[in-house]
Symmetry: C2
Subunit: 115 residues, 2 copies
């Protein structure tokens, strides 16, 4: 339970967005961000279908996001050997680093919030 007042929440979001926009990091879509954080925060296994249901989007949305973030090495695909129709989404070192750094940005900006 984190007590956050509306103005603080908005200010936090603004500062983090500004940091992301100003930086030369690869800009991720809100959907891509939701997928990435879900893969790294929720327990595996993660499948295309599962993510599509969690985000309430269609499967092609997940496939395309995996294409993009896979090219960025933020996560990786892996065929499920027990049911070769499935694709398991796995974490990568680069992705873990990216997520960790992003979390630090949020924490740092939260620490500087006034009032």
């Amino acid at each position: 339970m984190v007590a956050l007042r509306p103005l603080q929440a908005l200010r936090l979001w603004q500062q983090v967005c500004l940091a992301e926009v100003r930086g030369d990091m690869p800009d991720l879509t809100e959907r891509q961000m939701a997928i990435l954080l879900t893969v790294y925060l929720d327990p595996p296994p993660h499948t295309v279908r599962g993510l599509a249901e969690k985000l309430k989007v269609t499967k092609p949305v997940i496939t395309r996001a995996l294409d993009t973030m896979g090219a960025m090495k933020l996560l990786a695909r892996h065929r499920d050997q027990r049911d070769r129709r499935n694709v398991l989404i796995r974490r990568t070192v680069e992705g873990a680093l990216f997520v960790e750094r992003f979390g630090d940005v949020v924490v740092a900006n939260a620490a500087e919030l006034p009032i």
Copy 2:
């Protein structure tokens, strides 16, 4: 000063992203979000040039974002009568409501964070 631990920060971001993705709200780009929040949180006046400098992006980026969000009625353009070259970006009722509701989403998700 808000004490937020890395895992809490990431979980918060995930939940808010999920809420936005799942909702049928108009999805805003990270840049658009940075502009919108800056207009509504920072003191006016706001100009295209000023926003471009603050976000470290080019002016067409701001112009296009204003087009998009203007069509959504999230903010409005207004010629500066003292220097008619300038365009002043003003807040709207719809935009204020949108920002307020977004802040509430963040606050609500922060309140439900574990540990």
